[in-house]
Structure formats: C-alpha cells, structure tokens
Subunit: 246 residues, 2 copies
C-alpha cells in the first residue's frame, strides 16, 4: 500500500492554514478506527491559536516542529466522558484503574494513527511528538484535562515544506516471530543492525556526539536511563493524580 509504505515524518511546514473542514474530515476518519467495546474512550484536543501553541511548545521541549506546526493534535485516553454517561444513567462506573488507562490509551493511539494516514492521504504532513507522556501533567493543566483523562501522544500537522527520504528500518524479519519469540543472540543483532550502522548519517551522528558506537548515542544522549527513570516516576504520579491508580 503505497501511502503507508511511503510515509515520512515532516518537521517543516508551510506557513499555510489547514482548512477547518479538512481537520474535521481527518479526525472523522480517526473515529472510524476500532474502539474497545465501541466505548470510544478517547478525546482529541486541537490546538491552533498562536498563543496556545506558544504555551504548548515548551512542554514538548520547544522542538522546532512543535513551535512551527499550524496544528497540534493532542490524543488523550478519556474515561471521563464515558464515566459521566454511566453516572447520568444509574450505572456505577469502575474505570479509575490502570487497565482502563491502558484500554483508553490503545483506543486513543488507533485513532491517532488513522488520523495520520488520512492526513497524508490529503496532502498533509505529520510528526508524532513522543514528549507528550514526559510532560503529561503540565499538558493536562494547560488543556484543562479533567480526571480520568491522560494525554498519550501529540501529532503536529500541516502542509509539508520539505521532502525527506524514507528513513531506514531493520530488516522485516528482525521484528517478526513465527509461532514463538526467538530471542536474539549477538550474531543476529549484528546482522539486523548492520545496515543502520553503515549509514553515513548514522556515522555522522556518532561523530557529532563524540561517541564510539551508535548505541551509545541512544543510551548516553537521546534516551538516558536517568531521564527515563525521572519521567517514569513523574508519569506514574500523574496517572495517580488523574485517578487511574485507584
């Protein structure tokens, strides 16, 4: 399927407004994704106002794409709406717990990916912001998200102003297991990552960061143990604050 197979992340957008009807159309395609028990336990918060985008961008560490995209879509796990429906209908909701957060997270992410596919099919470009869960608490405050909601990812959206090539992937058989998971030994790992490590862009990445191996760029610079532990604790606290750990 050409559209999916040619997906590239866009980080530079034209200074061009995305029509309201188009935003609604791609969001509608999002809502046609599968949803657990047809409960639709998600919400999407659309950020377009200049002022609001400037407030949201620092919570995504001011990544240029977060600063420059005309539209930011925050996808939230949402058991608030469904629980309110229960309460107004003589039913006692029991969704203030971890598994319900996970269920709603799955729902929200299927919507997000459908929105991205629909957006690209309409000539838009997208970039996922993996920073959403790092600063979930601050995003919750900024967007007025109530208890039993939790922002799980953000998509920057706009008309592409760049045309990057496809990024590398490890060979397909490296991520698939037939019948049973076959664990990876050193030989297999070296085979699977050889192409990635051989790329000039990756070699440059190692040099620029003054590291010996590409893996060290990830462990020592990009996704550090200390940061992961900090954000894990922070996220678990926010999950508790949002009422999902009762």
């Amino acid at each position: 399927m050409e559209l999916l197979n040619q997906h590239v992340t866009i980080r530079k957008f034209k200074n061009q407004t995305v029509p309201q009807k188009l935003i609604e159309s791609v969001l509608y395609s999002g809502t046609r994704a599968s949803t657990t028990g047809n409960m639709q336990v998600y919400s999407v918060i659309v950020t377009q106002e200049e002022k609001r985008r400037q407030e949201l961008a620092p919570l995504h560490f001011n990544q240029p794409v977060a600063v420059n995209a005309p539209v930011l879509l925050t996808f939230a796990a949402d058991f608030n709406r469904f629980s309110k429906w229960c309460q107004f209908n003589s039913a006692e909701p029991g969704y203030n717990n971890f598994i319900s957060f996970i269920t709603a997270t799955i729902d929200a992410l299927l919507v997000a990916q459908n929105v991205c596919v629909a957006a690209e099919n309409n000539g838009l470009g997208i970039c996922y912001l993996g920073t959403t869960t790092y600063n979930a608490g601050e995003i919750i405050t900024l967007l007025d998200l109530p208890k039993l909601t939790f922002p799980v990812t953000t998509v920057a959206l706009g008309y592409p102003d760049e045309n990057p090539g496809l990024t590398d992937r490890i060979p397909l058989e490296g991520v698939i297991h037939y019948e049973k998971y076959v664990d990876y030994n050193e030989t297999r790992i070296r085979e699977l990552y050889a192409y990635k490590e051989s790329l000039d862009s990756m070699k440059q990445f190692v040099t620029e960061n003054d590291k010996e191996t590409l893996a060290q760029v990830f462990t020592d610079v990009r996704y550090k143990k200390k940061d992961n532990e900090f954000f894990s604790e922070k996220m678990l606290k926010t999950l508790k604050d949002q009422g999902f750990m009762e």
Copy 2:
C-alpha cells in the same frame, strides 16, 4: 478516505489461508509507521499453526473470532531487542522502566493500526482482541516472550465471511475539543449518546441483559469495576515480572 471510513470489524472468517507473502506485505506496511527515535521498539508474533491457535484462544476467553481466525497477530512492546543491541555495542541500556514500556506500547500500536489498514486494503478483515492485556502473563509464557517485552494487543486476520454494517459512533464534536477540554454536563452527555441509546440493537442489548439502562450493561456486565481492578493488579504484576518497573 473511503477505506478508513468504511472500516468494520470482522468476526467471521472464511476457511481460507492467508498467503505468506500477503502477511509479510501488510506487516511491512506496519513497520513503515512512525516509531520513537526510529528505535522500532516492538515485535509481532504471528500465530498460524492450528495447535498454537488452540492454545492461544482460551487466553482470549475463547471469543469465537479468536478460535476461528486463520491468523492471530500479537503486537508486543519490545525493548529487549534494542537493549541487546546496546549491550553488544558498549552501551548501557536504561529501558527497564515504566516510561519505556509506554514508549514501546505506542510504537507497537501504531504498527498494529497500519497493519489493519493495509490488511483491509488487500481484502482481508480484522478484529482487535482487547483481551491481550488481561492475560498478558499467560500469553508471555505461551509465546516465549522474554523480559522487556509485553503483548499489548492482538489482531485476528482473515478473509471476511460476513458483511456487517458500520457501527455507531457518537457525533464527531463529542470527542473533539478546540483549544481547551470542555467538560461534559448532563445535557451534553444526553445529546451525545441519544442516537446510540435509540438504536434497536442497543435496546435489545439492555433487554437481553435484564438491565434498565445501556450504561448498566457496560458497568454491570461487560466492563465491571471488580474485573477491572483484578486485571489492573494482574497487569501491573506482569509489568514488574517483565522488568518494566525497575
């Protein structure tokens, strides 16, 4: 986008093998989805053997679709492969924590949804099994999933042997918020759920379950507080067992 907008869940499949090349092709489209830092922290376990499917189905509570689908795809968050790559390259991985589980879960779900879109584009039908996280520990044992992996969803795949209509959704504006989340009052909830509650199929659902309201079917029969609490505790324990809570 017609393909996304016409999505229906298929629970009855033809007794027809899905060609290996087609499975690989839709999985390839999955791997073209966005992935955090291009780390590809996911794996897909393909279950096709009759014996293995019969072992897996009870872990999905023997839903007919789990029993009858010719292919089950288990999508797992996977920081095992990436961590091994780090270890074999003089880098100290720090991904045995909650935020890394969430990051890998997001990765796995974007792949899953792309796979579903690609499958439908090739005439296949799909059904998500929301039961995966309920019995994650048992699925881990059956599929030999190592530490730092976790099954987050399963997709049943095959050639459709039914042609169901589109399911209902609440009005689009009910799941979208512009700039700030606007919480729902009773009037708004009643407006949003009126159509769903008016459907004959839903009224029948209420009668069949001997309930007064549709919401009670969810809280008292389908997604009960007690069950949610049980599966929350179970999942958190399995997350710990898999090394994601250190």
